[in-house]
């Protein structure tokens, strides 16, 4: 087990180093062999670990003392428990699928080797993030995945918009990480340790006020990484990166790090009712906020991006209301179907040679059969179609918030479920049904190569079935039992499935199907008049959602422009005028003095002598005046 734990992150790291160093000269278009191989072995080892954990094994392993400075001690250590296993399942599986997919998607790209090297670096960081056993490792690899995210968003760095999007992601995350870092410092100051076991054991001894502060600071980090309002702005822009990256990092794994962190810290959050409520509130608001933007976006990847933000909000809602297991369940299900949906959208974009605007798509159903059907499975799964993954996970979140007494969160969640179904099938119908709107692109459309369709099929299977495998019976299913030891401290026992739950389940299923039917009415039956009419009817709301509620514009006006103006002012008046002025001024002063004294150095010996003579006379006169 120890060997497996070590090899899982180290194989991708080794592959990153080798591919990164030698890819350009030696591997070139064969760069993927090593990368995909390394991740495949990591996947196998992850599966082995999951089986071991399922059997009841756990691993707490201090590898070596990393930092020991006075009372500040941090070890490099690994912790493998049920929560780790859940994360490993998603990260390794989607990671492997995306690696395989990228072989086809990135073919012929100039940075082929670089792409695979970065992907490997990301896998290494992500594995270390979930395997670490203390907050500092979590923080370090939290930043490392952020770095990979930055590198991969701006992978096509010659494109200005991609470079900007990478910078934006980095900066927005910095805001959240600032809080995260403060939270970790506060933990250390309060408890004197950073290891999970030490912190969680002492969780009961901290006062409520301090605990709320710690939790809210930690959650600030989660808001940045998991793109929660108001720090969600970077994720939609991150779609500038290659689509496999959007799938792996910005849908299935890295953005879940925030959810993982909150779930991991559940003994802390359980101590602070306020923090829990804030988590639920932010999550619920983000869910409906992002879903409403997703309703009207026209870029296929933007729709999915806002959908991701919205679903992450769902997960935080689950964590906040105390339905820990449901939140993690949704994380797994979402990881699979959102990973799938992104890969599908990539396949569509590939088929249309780079077109991302849904208004120029349409009628692709028969041309790209595999993509279409896997896309439909993914969309049904996220819409909560009965039986598929999203149905079980979403229902357990909704039922959880209802049963824990948060009926208002439940009501909003239900509306979000409806919106989700609507925008997903709006996407499907606009892309695959109806008449092709751009004949030229349509004529060249073709199904993607095997390396791309295979991952789609392989991800469609868990998207459809994982709910059945993990979620039965609802709210006390396999997944809840499996995760129970992790969330023991949070102390909310799953309750038996009753008539109310059946009613809730039926309701959420109906809502999902209702959304799908409405989308059918809008975009298949009457695509020419109904959407436009509804848009005109909604008026201001439509305009606001289309413009993403002017959040970016607000940030520009409230933060970026003032800071830029301040910077420019400091540069011009403090740096240029004062500091440079002082330095240049002193130089100019001595230059002037030198120029003034230069004529005295005439080289005429007698002139020198004359001045010596005068000086001597002056001394003599002074002597006489002073003494006589």
């Amino acid at each position: 087990m120890k060997a497996a734990v070590l090899l899982i992150p180290l194989l991708p790291l080794a592959s990153f180093i080798i591919t990164g160093l030698f890819g350009k000269r030696f591997f070139k278009e064969k760069s993927h062999y090593l990368s995909v191989g390394a991740v495949a072995v990591s996947w196998l080892l992850s599966m082995y670990l999951i089986v071991e954990v399922e059997r009841g094994e756990e691993l707490h392993w201090q590898v070596y003392s990393w930092i020991a400075a006075g009372s500040f001690k941090v070890d490099i250590g690994f912790l493998v428990d049920q929560l780790t296993a859940v994360m490993l399942l998603v990260v390794s599986t989607v990671g492997l699928m995306v690696h395989v997919y990228s072989i086809g998607y990135m073919k012929g790209d100039g940075g082929y080797y670089r792409f695979f090297a970065y992907l490997n670096l990301f896998m290494f960081s992500m594995f270390m993030l979930i395997l670490g056993n203390n907050f500092l490792m979590l923080y370090v690899f939290w930043e490392a995945v952020g770095l990979c995210s930055y590198l991969l968003i701006s992978f096509w760095y010659t494109k200005k918009s991609a470079a900007n999007a990478g910078t934006k992601a980095f900066l927005v995350n910095r805001v959240g990480d600032f809080g995260f870092g403060l939270g970790i410092m506060l933990i250390f100051v309060t408890l004197g340790t950073l290891s999970y076991s030490g912190v969680f054991e002492a969780a009961g001894t901290i006062g409520t006020g301090t605990m709320t502060a710690i939790c809210l600071l930690l959650f600030m980090g989660a808001m940045g990484k998991s793109a929660q309002f108001p720090l969600h702005v970077w994720l939609p822009d991150a779609m500038e990166g290659p689509t496999p990256v959007s799938s792996l990092i910005h849908a299935a794994t890295m953005v879940n790090a925030g959810v993982y962190m909150v779930a991991r810290s559940n003994p802390l959050f359980a101590e602070s009712h306020t923090a829990m409520f804030v988590v639920a509130l932010v999550g619920t608001f983000t869910a409906i906020f992002a879903a409403s933007i997703g309703l009207v976006q026209n870029d296929i990847k933007k729709v999915l991006a806002y959908s991701t933000v919205s679903q992450l909000g769902y997960m935080f809602m689950a964590l906040g209301v105390g339905a820990w297991g449901a939140g993690m369940f949704h994380l797994i299900a979402h990881g699979f179907f959102k990973g799938l949906l992104f890969l599908c959208s990539g396949s569509v974009i590939h088929a249309l040679s780079g077109e991302q605007d849904m208004r120029k798509m349409g009628g692709l159903k028969n041309k790209t059969k595999i993509t279409y059907w896997t896309f439909v499975i993914g969309a049904l799964a996220i819409s909560g179609f009965p039986g598929l993954a999203g149905f079980w996970s979403k229902d357990s979140i909704l039922a959880g918030s209802f049963n824990h007494g948060y009926w208002y969160f439940w009501a909003v969640g239900l509306i979000v479920a409806f919106m989700t179904a609507f925008y997903m099938f709006r996407l499907i119908f606009m892309t695959f049904h109806g008449k092709p709107r751009d004949e030229k692109a349509f004529a060249h459309a073709h199904e993607s190569p095997r390396s791309m369709t295979m991952p789609l099929i392989l991800l469609a299977i868990p998207s459809a079935l994982i709910g059945l495998a993990l979620g039965l019976p609802p709210e006390d299913g396999h997944i809840d039992k499996f995760l129970e030891p992790v969330f023991e401290a949070a102390g909310i026992a799953p309750h038996a499935f009753g008539a109310v739950d059946l009613g809730l389940m039926a309701l959420s299923a109906l809502v999902g199907i209702g959304g799908i039917l409405l989308a059918w009415q809008f975009y298949v039956k009457r695509p020419d008049d109904l959407p436009a009419k509804a848009g005109a009817r909604a008026g201001f709301l439509y305009k606001a959602a289309l413009n993403k509620y002017w959040i970016d514009e607000f940030y520009f006006a409230a933060v970026i422009n003032p800071v830029m103006a301040l910077g420019r002012g400091l540069w011009r008046w403090v740096d240029m005028a004062m500091i440079d002025g002082f330095v240049n001024g002193s130089a100019r002063f001595f230059h002037g003095v030198g120029m003034a004294l230069k004529p005295t150095q005439s080289g005429k010996i007698q002139a020198y002598l004359f001045s010596m003579f005068l000086g001597f006379l002056a001394l003599l006169v002074a002597y006489l005046i002073l003494t006589v």
Partner: protein
Amino acid sequence: MTPLQQYLALSMALFFIGAWGVLARRNLILVVMCVELMLNAINIALVAFSNYSPTGAGRGEVFVFFVFALAAAEAAIGLAIAIAMYRLKEKLSVDDLDEMKG
């Protein structure tokens, strides 16, 4: 007996004539000669002081010998410089020795 002031007046006159020569003349040999003049002005002052001092009789004269020795050495070096300069520049004006100017 001639008063001390007259000796000192003579010494001072010679000294300033020498100083003027050093500062104002352009010919290197004349400059060296004027330096000798200044030194000898000092010698006169020393001898005069020695003669008029109630306790220091003879000390000033001893000092004068040192000045002679110094003057001889200085004259030797000064003339050597003059010869070297003439070889280099074929003239003896001190104004031409301005290679060190800033």
